[in-house]
Amino acid sequence: MNKRTSFSTPDLAVNIGGIRMKNPVITASGTFGYGEEMSELYDLSSLGGIMVKGLSLSPQPGNPPPRICETPAGMLNAIGLQNIGVRVFIEEKLPMLRRWDTRIIANIYGHDCGEYAEVARCLNDAEGVDGIELNISCPNVKKGGMAFGTDPVETRKVVKAVRRACRLPLIVKLSPNVTDITEFARAAEGEGADAISLINTLLGMAIDIHLRKPILANIMGGLSGPAIRPVALRMVYQVARSVKVPLIGMGGIMNAEDAVSFLLAGASAVAIGTANFVDPMTPLKVIHGIRDYMIQYDMTSMQDLIGAL
């Protein structure tokens, strides 16, 4: 209470496995493109970080449409990781992204460990990438994707391969489609991950009962949005109690209250995904709301908030 009288602005800075961010709010991979379009809407320098759309070695066409489908308080997507490829990203998108004073985290995936490592190596040699997020959890591509994230042996292999291939801070993004999420978190940590992000989407499906076929051309897709928040929050809470590396929590965060609940559960930062579609200003509102919450409860630094359940 007496701290209140100082009226000091709380310090929102966090260090996520070596990535120093001015605040704990990141935009989730695949929901923010390469930042270009969003920069027309607001100053990206306000963000703690940007996780760019998943990058692979060569450009990918992605899945045929329909790729998305609305569900109660959520959505399914089966984009199939359409992307321009890591080299084009480095040449064409990264220079533009660097103009903003924020951390650029490259989300990557490959079809096998070698390809994962190769993408990481490209980024390691490029100028201006602050960290790598290893997507071992995408449910929408046959090879390279969920298979790595639902078998702890595979998880270990791919993390090891990428760890060797680059010196950048390494974040491993876990799949929620597993029996025991902590097992995968420990596997990633054991192989040298600097941080863990969770959760990716839950595998789901929707059917058009009149056409009598799945709505998504890919049949199944990944469920995101507030619908999955209770599951995401539970997993963050569990993983926070079983590893030491910092966590980036995500899954249905729509506003500052949601973000605070992930921080209290033990995440050191949060990522905003589907909410960017619902209200593109969400990340800014979340940053302000976290600050207001900290002021209300006399918290001066993020350490007062993270895991303070």
């Binding site: 695949g30 929901t31 923010f32 493109g33 270009e36 379009e37 969003m38 809407l41 759309k53 066409p61 992605g62 045929p64 449409p65 329909p66 790729r67 998305i68 489908c69 609305e70 109660p72 308080a73 959520g74 959505m75 997507n77 984009i79 359409q82 949005g225 507030p226 729509m254 589907t274 960017n276 579609f277 619902v278 209200d279 593109p280």
Partner: protein, 255 residues
């Protein structure tokens, strides 16, 4: 941005015209662009819906929509003075080349929505314009009589022949256009259901006339970030919300 509902009027059975006062009012609005609209307060439905900009009057934006599902159902219940979240204008609209002299607009059902603003643009450039407007029933067409006063020729058809010609509007259009001498100063603009658009695209190809089609697709962001709304074109998957919604008719692989 936010907007205030000025009017939300049912202009025909199940078809509403919503007039919104956006704050701030956008710098530019081009015919064929769209807005993403939060149809309900709260999260049911969670995604915004895309609507073509139907008209701009007096720093107000109008959209024209047919109630088909949850989103448009919610929208139809919004009342005067309600606040509605809005993003836009978005996407690439119709292009009107300097040399153009004749515009044929082909609209199927609610696909007529973007053409009100388009007609204003064409008229201001004194381009000779005909609107071919097809609908299922006379009722869907009748309210649109206002257009007649606007210096465009109007050709209508209904599926049941209850008003105008009987049959699909593309067929009506085909019959008429065959009587013209088409050249580079003519252009076809089409908006409506996908089968209608692909028929229009075929016609353009056959007649060697430039055509533009306004597409629909499932959208999450409307901004170009989610990659959800793509359509297959001759240059691969393109985003309907960013590279479209208006595409050259011959660029789309209709399959």
């Amino acid at each position: 941005m936010t907007s205030e509902v000025i009017e939300n009027r049912e202009v025909a059975g199940g078809i509403f015209r919503l007039t919104l006062a956006p704050d701030p009012f956008p710098a530019t609005v081009a015919p064929g662009q769209f807005v993403m609209v939060r149809t309900a307060e709260g999260m049911d439905p969670i995604l915004s819906r895309a609507f073509s900009i139907h008209d701009v009057v007096d720093r107000k934006i109008r959209i024209l929509y047919r109630v088909v599902g949850r989103g448009t159902g919610c929208l139809s219940k919004r009342k005067k003075r309600d606040g509605i979240g809005l993003i836009g204008p978005l996407g690439r609209g119709f292009t009107i080349p300097k040399t153009m002299k004749t515009a044929w607009l082909v609209a199927g059902g609610i696909g007529v929505a973007p053409f009100q603003l388009m007609i204003r643009a064409l008229r201001s450039r004194k381009i000779h314009t005909t609107l071919f407007f097809g609908a299922r029933t006379a009722e869907e067409l009748a309210w649109y009589r206002d257009l007649e006063g606007q210096g465009v020729s109007l050709v209508v058809s209904t599926d049941d022949g209850s008003l105008g010609e009987k049959g699909k509007i593309v067929d009506v259009f085909r019959k008429q256009i065959l009587q013209y001498q088409v050249d580079q100063t003519c252009r076809v603009y089409a908006c409506g259901p996908r089968p209608m658009l692909s028929a229009a695209a075929r016609l353009c190809r056959d007649l060697k006339v430039q055509g533009e089609v306004s597409l629909e697709s499932e959208m999450a962001c409307g901004l170009g970030t989610c990659m959800g709304c793509v359509v297959l074109t001759s240059t691969g998957y393109q985003r309907v919300c960013r590279e479209g919604p208006v595409f050259p008719a011959d660029s789309i692989l209709w399959e």
